[in-house]
């Protein structure tokens, strides 16, 4: 009897196991399918918790693999270029807008003879591109009774009087910010909008339009009020909201960032002046966050299936409703717009009233080129490099190579001076336009050798004084300092240096210092203090990442 019972239990167990396996229950640990997603960083706050929630659900594909979404934020223009170069291989690409997608598609087609983006992808969330401006400044310009646009920005930019013309001399010059058009969506959008406004058009912008003097003049006028460019719209917004009206009068960004800032201000989290979204009267563009499942050879059928499931999750009502909290307009048209998309948060849900037509790919590329070669505000740049003895070996060789790459990223109209420091301060190349001397400077940089102590503070002070004396106030003025250790030999103290360089009397137009703490022994805190006191930024770098750090700094100019 006991034996029979044993048989029976065994059979029952087998039946249960078979039955369970047919039903696809995960008795034996299953595989997973990873879906890499690269997305425009503006929607990070909305997206990241949703990625976590979706992954926690352990959703499965039909074949039984657990879906894992791996989402990485990246500049929208940069990501398109990197996909074409196959430096990144996402399954899902969600840039901030569709504006640059035709260019990416065209570049991809040249290599692969088919489209990378097929059909019309669904939008995840929407937000119009706006000019964020401090409310008192907008009111001084006549807002909200008067509608403002790019032409008003151009007038302000070229005005000798700046805010004094509107009765506010204490606000100084008009200072504008937008991101770098080669890296970020709001940057390319800004220069396209400038080109349209310069041509007096709202649609059908052509290569012939771009050749007109008035277009170039208009773009150059707007760009003259730029304090610096930047890699990401989110960073720009934080910069404006952290440093206040003396740093930036206005910046091109997305409506959702204005609403989010006002939410913080109204809750007491931020103490700045109120900020409002200006919807340019000439028309604007939408940032529509398309969800693109790439038609690329590395995307498997199962990844596609998994990506579609995640898309359905993001477009489902609870997730769409959540988007409003972050100031986005849901792509789901059945959801009404509510707070913070209201007047109290500096936003008008009934705006914009019109849009600008997205130009053809070749026109967008031509605008980028026009901006770079003529309209862009040049930089007067001091590069200060630590060549003390501690830089020996791999450090000095990677510093040399990455600096050569950095110099390649600068434009002919940019002016460059290179200063080396150890016990001595050596000017490798005086401040002058790079176009004439690029090859020579690159050759000389390639021959840098190390030795001696570290006179960091003296070197920074020297560069700062040089720039004050020789720099053009109509250019962006910046210093990039690379150092791998603490100051050991300066005559100047850190406090004395800070008094000098931390002077922000020119607000956003003052000289910015970008510092690179190179290697483990660098004085990170000191370099950070120096950079942030000027509105610049401190970076950590080592022999492997130094090229990326220089490339990130280059987006500011």
């Amino acid at each position: 009897m006991k034996k029979h019972l044993q048989h029976l239990s065994l059979m029952l167990l087998l039946v249960m196991l078979t039955s369970a396996c047919q039903g696809g229950l995960p008795i034996i640990g299953g595989n997973s399918v990873v879906v890499p997603m690269y997305y425009g960083s503006e929607k990070e706050e909305w997206l990241v918790p949703l990625v976590e929630a979706f992954n926690a659900q352990k959703n499965k594909t039909e074949a039984g693999s657990t879906i894992v979404i791996e989402a990485t934020p990246i500049g929208s223009i940069e990501s398109g270029d990197k996909i074409v170069a196959e430096e990144i291989k996402p399954v899902v690409w969600s840039p901030a807008s569709s504006a640059y997608v035709p260019v990416t598609n065209e570049n991809w087609r040249r290599i692969h003879a088919e489209d990378l983006v097929v059909g019309t992808p669904n939008d995840l969330v929407l937000s119009p591109v706006v000019i964020a401006m401090w409310r008192p400044m907008a009111e001084a310009l006549g807002w909200p009774d008067k509608t403002l646009g790019w032409s008003d920005i151009a007038d302000m930019a070229v005005s000798e009087e700046g805010w004094a013309a509107f009765g506010y001399p204490e606000w100084g010059d008009f200072k504008l910010g937008h991101t770098h058009p080669n890296f970020s969506n709001s940057g390319i959008i800004s220069v396209i909008a400038e080109a349209y406004a310069g041509a007096g058009k709202q649609r059908g912008l052509t290569l012939e339009d771009l050749a007109q003097d008035r277009v170039i003049e208009f773009m150059t006028a707007v760009e003259s009020s730029i304090i610096h460019y930047g890699e990401s719209t989110g960073f720009f917004a934080n910069r404006m909201f952290d440093l206040g009206p003396s740093y930036l009068s206005a910046a091109v960004m997305y409506e959702n960032l204005v609403a989010a800032q006002e939410t913080k201000r109204l809750s007491g989290e931020a103490s700045q002046l109120p900020v409002v979204a200006i919807y340019p009267k000439e028309g604007t563009f939408w940032s529509n966050h398309p969800y693109i499942i790439l038609n690329a050879p590395w995307v498997t059928d199962e990844q596609r299936e998994a990506a579609e499931m995640f898309e359905a999750f993001l477009l489902d009502k609870p997730q769409q409703l959540k988007a409003i909290e972050y100031g986005f307009r849901p792509a789901d048209p059945t959801i009404p717009l509510g707070a913070p998309l209201d007047e109290q948060h500096g936003v008008d849900p009934l705006q914009p009233q019109t849009v600008l037509e997205v130009p053809d790919g070749e026109v967008v590329v031509a605008i980028q080129e026009l901006w770079r070669s003529q309209a862009k505000k040049p930089v007067d740049l001091m590069v200060v490099v630590d060549v003390s003895g501690s830089m020996e070996g791999e450090k000095i060789s990677s510093a040399r190579a990455s600096l050569v790459e950095f110099i390649e990223l600068l434009d002919d109209r940019d002016r460059l001076e290179v200063i080396l420091f150890s016990n001595q301060l050596t000017t490798l190349s005086e401040l002058s336009a790079l176009g004439e001397k690029r090859a020579d400077v690159m050759r000389r940089v390639s021959g840098i050798i190390e030795g001696g102590d570290t006179r960091l503070y003296d070197a920074v002070q020297f560069a700062y004084d040089e720039l004050r004396a020789k720099g053009d106030p109509d250019h962006i003025r910046a210093i990039v300092v690379l150092s791998d250790g603490a100051d050991t030999a300066s005559k100047l103290s850190l406090d004395q240096l800070m008094v000098q360089v931390g002077n922000l009397s020119e607000g956003g137009k003052s000289t910015k210092i970008f510092t690179i703490a190179f290697g483990r022994d660098a004085s990170v805190d000191i370099l950070k203090r120096i950079a942030e006191s000027t509105g610049g930024r401190q970076y950590d770098g080592d022999t492997k990442t130094i090229s990326d750090v220089y490339a990130a700094i280059a987006t500011f100019f």
Partner: protein, 405 residues
């Protein structure tokens, strides 16, 4: 007298068999089966495999069909003792029949936006004898293939802008006036520079039926007729130049009417001023638009073209190797369910005109009554004649070659 041990054993076996019999009967009978302890029940007798019906349908009827599917499933439908499971997938109308023809989709039941695609699929599949033994659909086989809903192509504009542009009546030259508006005028011409250029949108005629129907209507309007459209008309250089100019000024050719209309409401008046969509698609979003932008800016106005072109949403069971007899039977059951009065009345609430003509459009609760202020009309103008297949082909070829190369 106590039973002998042998009798004891026999009784025990009989008792055991009887118990097992009752248990099995209970498990097999669906009503009693449902009461049984589920894990035990499914181990002993696995549930019958459902008959899965794959349905490809055009997006604009998504809201109605989703509810109809729920109601159908609630009736616990079965064929040959097996439950029916419906798997629905959205598709553009043209994309749908092309996918069937090239073998990338193997649905059991399809529902494009109009009979036009069914006619094309019937002819084109008849020509592909290498792939299909018989045409995969037959328009005359009404048991397997018939219209289920009707809705005409209309123009929809934001009401405040429509008032400025045409008021209540664009008159019989509607398509001609639209051409003039997008190619020669902008909102500045109407005293509203802040609205920019006049943005018209429709779907791509190669991808979606409403765009194709709009193109046919516009072509008829150019020649000021409602029937007898010929190849010579389509090839007329004057017409081609006129239409090409229009096409180049269209703000966007969307892929599918349903998702296009969603986009129109999601973006609001900045993106499109006036669009060609189906009446039902517009009705579905009238309240969404107001909820999003308020009565003043979010109101929609519907304009009826001088002659009507109807989208009639046929549902057709495919006559293909991949459709098993029980799947075809299940698909037919679903089709019959959709043309029952209850589902037809439901269709009316979603803004479709029922094919069951016993249901009046002005029934209580009908959106046709509710949205009369948006310009809805109960009686339609006469329909244009559907041009012959070769003329339609010429029109599409012209579009593909010249309008959006």
């Amino acid at each position: 007298m106590p039973p002998t041990p042998r009798l004891n054993k026999l009784l025990l076996i009989l008792y055991g068999l009887a118990t097992l019999g009752v248990l099995i009967a209970a498990l097999v009978s669906p009503e009693i089966r449902a009461l049984a302890y589920a894990p035990l029940r499914d181990i002993i007798i696995p549930p019958p495999k459902p008959v899965v019906v794959h349905v490809l349908y055009s997006t604009e009827k998504a809201a109605w069909i989703t509810e109809a599917v729920d109601r159908f499933q609630a009736t616990r439908p079965r064929v040959v003792g097996r439950p029916i499971e419906l798997v629905l997938e959205k598709s553009g109308s043209r994309e749908m029949y092309l996918a069937v023809l090239d073998g990338t989709a193997e649905p059991d039941l399809i529902s494009p936006a109009s009979q036009l695609q069914i006619a094309l699929l019937q002819d084109l599949s008849a020509a592909r004898t290498d792939l299909f033994r018989t045409p995969v659909v037959n328009q005359n086989d009404i048991e397997n293939c018939r219209p289920v809903l009707e809705t005409p192509v209309v123009l929809v504009a934001w009401k405040n802008r429509a008032d400025v542009l045409w008021g209540n009546d664009p008159n019989g030259r509607m398509w001609l006036r639209l051409h003039e508006a997008v190619t020669e005028q902008n909102w500045d011409s109407f005293g509203h520079p802040e609205w920019g250029y006049i943005k018209f949108g429709q779907t791509n005629p190669l991808k979606s039926n409403s765009g194709f129907q709009a193109m046919v209507l516009m072509t008829y309007n150019y020649f000021q007729k409602t029937d007898n459209l010929t190849n010579n008309d389509v090839l007329d250089p004057g017409f081609q130049e006129w239409y090409t100019e229009f096409g180049r000024n269209v703000a966007k050719f969307g892929d599918s009417t349903g998702t296009f209309m969603e986009e129109i409401v999601a973006y609001g008046p900045s993106q499109y001023d006036i669009v060609a969509v189906y009446e039902a698609t517009a009705i579905e979003h009238i309240e969404n638009a107001i909820a999003r932008y308020g009565e003043e800016q979010g109101g929609l106005r519907i304009y009826y073209p001088p002659a009507t072109s109807m989208s009639d949403h046929p549902f057709c069971v495919l006559n293909a190797d991949w459709v098993a007899p029980e799947e075809a039977e299940a698909a037919r059951l679903f089709l019959n369910f959709l043309t029952d009065k209850e589902m037809q009345e439901l269709a009316l609430t979603y803004g479709f005109r029922p094919v069951d003509t016993s249901i009046p459009l002005d029934s209580p609760g009908s959106p046709f009554l509710r949205y009369l202020d948006s310009g809805l009309e109960l009686t339609l103008k006469p329909e244009v004649a559907v041009p012959p297949g070769n003329v339609l082909d010429t029109l599409l070829t012209f579009w593909q070659r010249a309008v959006r190369p």
